[in-house]
Amino acid sequence: MFDTLLNLTARGLSTGAIYSLIAMGIVLIFQTTSVMNFAQGNAGMFITYLAFFLLALKVPFPLVIILALLFGALFGGLTERFLMRRVRERSHVGLLMITLGLALIFEGLAASIFGTFPLNFPPILTGPPVHVGPIILSKQDIIVNLLSLALFTLLFLVLYKTKIGIGARSIAEDEYGARVLGIPVFNIYIFIWALGFALPGLAGILVVPRFSLEPHFMVPIQIKAFTAAVFGGMNSVQGAIVGGLLLGVLENIVAFYYPILKESFSLILVVIVLLIFPTGLFGKRSQRRF
């Protein structure tokens, strides 16, 4: 009984790490530019397709991951520079619609360039599962956990120790104040959007071996990531990480004992969170911006 729970928790953590990666992108973008980015899931899907074809060209795996991150950063930077920046001052709902339009473009491009036939994406590491005490984990899960742990640490260092991260956090607090103090707001926006598109690309590559690669595979993951972000609190990066991990673990345990609730669990969680504590686990009650 206890061993089963331990195993479920360990596997749930690796699912949760993927939710956290995407949720973190969502929260970073929401905090600084107050836009919900709906293009993330499909952008991640598109980057995964690119990675698939790089792998087919016999490019080594670590290089593929780096290239995928760069592709994501490029998409994000271009989006911010040429789409978001021009609309930001005019309409707020417009920003959200641009991300929806981007989601459509990525989906259509993937379907028309690569086709809708499901493809098999290889995991990073194959081989027999590893036994750690009573826990049995596949090598892929371990890699996912280690990589996300490394990324979380790196991102926290960036956010709290570098000038660009401190600038980003000051924008989250008060954009006009930050501008007055001479913080390069627009460059930081580009950085945040690049990050927000690179993270789901990596998450896509890490999670795709569990499914098969087709143009819709990121949609349920994106919904879960939004749930995780709301669960942890939309205005807290720590919240996104903890929320994602908790969601992954809870979902895995619930799905094991009540399989019928597998997909609906995140909805139930969202409703409970919205009704009881709308600011999430870590969120601060924010003041309305004018």
């Binding site: 709902v93 417009g94 641009i98 929806l100 989601a103 989906e107 028309s112 349920p220 919205l274 709308p278």
Partner: protein, 315 residues
């Protein structure tokens, strides 16, 4: 838009659309496309009311359409309810679902509604897949066509006129709502929520009204869709279709009464023009159209018509 222009546009569109099926006497499939345009125009009008006039984003519009469609189809097929009555019940039930979802989420700030409706959308399709009465993953087949008194709306031509009548009714209702006291309250909420609150508008109440009305219209459109296409599958109504609904509303023109019709025609007819071989390219074109209309044409395709009118000194 002045009252006279609305009437004149309505009359022009009616005059153009009444004899339209006779042009395609030999090709009922083309009339079928027009039927789809009208159905999606009705559904999009619901979203336009919510997003264009009240400024609230919903990502679960297709789920309400699915609820309406399935309720109506099941009532007719399993319980032998009169189909007209079934459509009324389906519409009311979609409204009830809207009330249940909107009540907790509309009291919070806007983006919570987007997330709650997105979760609703995925949960609805999931639930439909698991229930047995809805046919599960096989979908619901051979739904009987609409029947009023003893007349069966079986051919595309008869459906066309019925749907046209429905669309004109819904558009008129929305138009009148927008120009009423409640409509002004909704537009005030969209433009400046704080100001609206401070002049005594019950913001939460009016948002909820808009949300319930929008889900009712979506339910009606779904019920008509079910009896028209006679096949329902849960995958049709996923998150992707909700996003496409939003895109239709945006491309047609948010906050304009004829926008939904334009957006729906764009969405239905574009893949036919591009051709079946490049089917997915139309999604790309559609996404680009969304971005372009956000960046350059805040009122979408309606704005093009408006500018043309201005150039030709029609007003």
């Amino acid at each position: 838009m002045k009252k006279t222009t609305f009437l004149s546009i309505a009359l022009i569109i009616l005059a153009l659309s009444l004899p339209l099926p006779f042009l395609y006497m030999q090709k009922p499939s083309i009339v079928g496309y027009f039927n789809m345009v009208i159905l999606f125009a009705i559904g999009t009008q619901g979203l336009n009311l919510l997003l264009g006039y009240a400024g609230q984003v919903s990502l679960g519009h297709a789920a309400f359409m699915a609820i309406g469609g399935y309720i109506s189809a099941i009532l007719v097929m399993s319980y032998n309810v009169n189909s007209l009555f079934a459509i009324v019940i389906a519409t009311a039930f979609a409204g009830l679902c809207g009330l249940l979802v909107g009540f907790p989420s509309l009291r919070l700030s806007g983006f919570y509604l987007a997330i709650a409706t997105m979760a609703l959308g995925s949960a609805t399709t999931d639930l439909i897949k698991r229930l047995s009465i809805t046919g599960g993953d096989h979908g619901l087949r051979s739904i009987s066509p609409l029947k009023i008194l003893n007349f069966e709306f079986y051919s595309e031509f008869s459906k066309y006129y019925l749907f046209l009548f429905m669309m004109v009714t819904i558009f008129l209702l929305v138009k009148n709502l927008i120009n009423s006291r409640s409509g002004r309250a909704l537009r005030a909420i969209r433009d400046a929520e704080l100001t609206a609150e401070s002049v005594g508008i019950n913001v939460a109440y009016y948002k909820l009204v808009a949300f319930v009305l929008s889900s009712m219209i979506a339910g009606l459109s779904g019920a008509l869709y079910a009896h028209s296409v006679s096949y329902l599958h849960p995958n049709t109504f996923g998150l992707g279709f909700s996003i496409e609904f939003l895109a239709m509303a945006i491309v047609g023109g948010l906050g304009t009464i004829w926008g939904p019709l334009l957006g729906a025609s764009f969405w239905v007819l574009l893949p036919r023009i591009i051709g079946p071989r490049l089917e997915y390219l139309s999604t790309v074109v559609f996404g680009i159209a969304v971005i372009l209309s956000v960046m350059f044409l805040p009122y979408g395709l309606s704005e093009i018509i408006y500018r043309l009118e201005k150039k030709m000194k029609l007003r």
